[in-house]
């Protein structure tokens, strides 16, 4: 169910802007991962299909709240960096485009970081270095290279928002499971009733540890692919 929701979310912007007929898009699914990456529209999730941004997905998903904030931050950064680079795309000399892209991303990330520090200091402390590390998040750079450099501002902006949201969605699902089973809370509120604990229920310590985030991600990818056999590599 979750996977379907996610795909709807991901596909909606894709259909609006995709210049290609839908037959072309279907062939896209059967192509291998690398090909998907090089296509302007992955039309699918950056985390579970392109396997990008895994590092932060492990680090910030112990609790739901930081994951939510992280998701919003990444959406803002991908959306606006795509928009800005797309506006500049005809004036950027190809040889130094990476540096220009990085400058734009870094500026946006610093902005986000400062806003977080001003508005939500506690969460910003929890996220610590990982907000700064959005700069190195492959999703941002990947969308700029693959899409914004070759497309008009509006589609580029939507693409950025879509990919950021796809990333954020996975982040939130993983964080939801990890906080629920690892700490028995959601957003800091106790969800699992006290009677459960008295009956012998114990929070699962493994969910707090980073390996479990990897396993949960793996299971999500598994479920995703069994719903969508086109994604399975031959």
């Amino acid at each position: 169910m979750k996977e379907k929701d996610m795909k709807r979310q991901e596909k909606a912007p894709a259909k609006v802007q995709s210049p290609k007929p839908s037959g072309e898009e279907n062939r896209l699914f059967s192509a291998k991962n690398l090909k998907l990456l090089s296509r302007p529209f992955g039309a699918d999730n950056p985390v579970t299909v392109q396997v990008l941004g895994i590092c932060s997905a492990l680090a910030v998903t112990v609790k739901l709240q930081p994951a939510l904030v992280m998701a919003v931050s990444v959406i803002v950064v991908t959306g606006f960096s795509n928009l800005i680079i797309s506006l500049l795309r005809n004036t950027i000399p190809p040889r130094i485009r990476i540096i220009v892209q990085l400058t734009v991303i870094a500026t946006l990330v610093i902005l986000v970081d400062q806003v977080l520090k001003a508005v939500a200091y506690d969460v910003s402390k929890q996220l610590s270095v990982f907000v700064g590390l959005i700069i190195t998040n492959c999703i941002v750079m990947g969308r700029l290279e693959a899409f914004a450099m070759a497309n008009k501002p509006w589609p580029a902006f939507l693409d950025g928002i879509g990919n950021g949201a796809g990333y954020g969605f996975i982040l939130i699902v993983v964080a939801f499971l990890r906080e629920l089973f690892g700490s028995g809370t959601l957003l800091g509120f106790k969800v699992i009733p006290e009677s459960f604990y008295q009956a012998g229920y114990v929070n699962n310590g493994l969910f707090i540890l980073p390996p479990m985030a990897l396993i949960v991600l793996g299971v999500i990818i598994w479920v995703h692919r069994s719903f969508n056999p086109n994604l399975i590599e031959k």
């Binding site: 012998g200 114990v202 699962n204 310590g205 493994l206 969910f207 540890l209 396993i215 793996g218 299971v219 598994w222």
Partner: protein, 377 residues
Amino acid sequence: MLRNFLDRIKPQFEKDGKLHFLHSTFEAFESFLYVPDKVTVSGSHVRDALDMKRTMITVVVALLPCFLFGIYNTGYMHFAALGQTCEFWPAFWFGCTKVLPMLIVSYVVGLGIEFVFAQIRGHEVNEGFLVSGFLIPLICPPDVPLWMIAVATAFAVIIGKEVFGGTGMNIWNPALLARAFLFFAYPSQMSGDAVWVADAVSGPTALAAMSSHTGNLPTASELFWGFIPGSVGETSKFCILLGAAILLWSGIGSFRIMFSAVAGGVVMAWIGRLTGSTDATVMQHLLSGGFLFGAVFMATDPVTSAQTNCGKWIFGFLVGLMAVLIRIYNPAYQEGMMLAILLMNTFAPLIDYLVVNRNVNRRRKRLQAVRSQVENA
């Protein structure tokens, strides 16, 4: 009568039958009860009586001494901690009430998942879980809540085995994975200084005493015969050696892995003793915790250990070495056997790869030497 019943319901499971989708379940039960009558028609095949079923049953038989003693010891520890002496049978009976539910839960959950996956994927039900399911209760302390065993078993079977394609394809030993899951998920229940001895009484295991330099270490004979608190199956080294003898005699367990694992443990314990990092003697290291149990029953798992003969020596030696290394130098983990075996399971394919490549290179060199000789002549 059973045969007749099977024959009567068989047509329903055949192609176009009503219950065809359950056919692998049916076949699993049929071949579990009777030798299958299917014979290959064409071509020649190498036949061996030692199929997977026979292998698995032998391992289970080798585990029986540990299992029976584990049951008795659970009861014995219970009454001893309460300050009562007791007869053999009451202790055995009490142990049964503790250990048998663990076994049943592990089998029901694990086999249930295996059957479901076999139906969905349309492959045969494998016998691999007969051993894993037997091992899981043996490597857990007797007071682990049953639901935890169920969760851990499900995790081990799904993530450790089915994800990789079922029996024979798994990278890690499923039973150890179940224990590792319990160990990291519910650390307070698993080991250390508050392990179950009897209801409402808890005491340190031998290894916890060893690493904290407090309490009395059990004597070597107590460690050997196994009247100590600990996980169900690993306390009696005598029963483990009995099981080892069965495995070696039948040729199912690899003597290379067993011996080199013990050798690795001895070397590391000796180094630790020499540098003054551990109080325990080499003998105490070998006899305490799950070292021997792991070396005999877990490291020798034919699926997850190294496959080449030379690789087996390396694999076993490193398992023993790592186990004692973790024990001595990592204060967070009193027992290193589980982590050592899982780590070496991960590296087993690499060891095999190196061994095979070395052999290939050696042969290539030999070939070149011969060739140059021929050309010179």
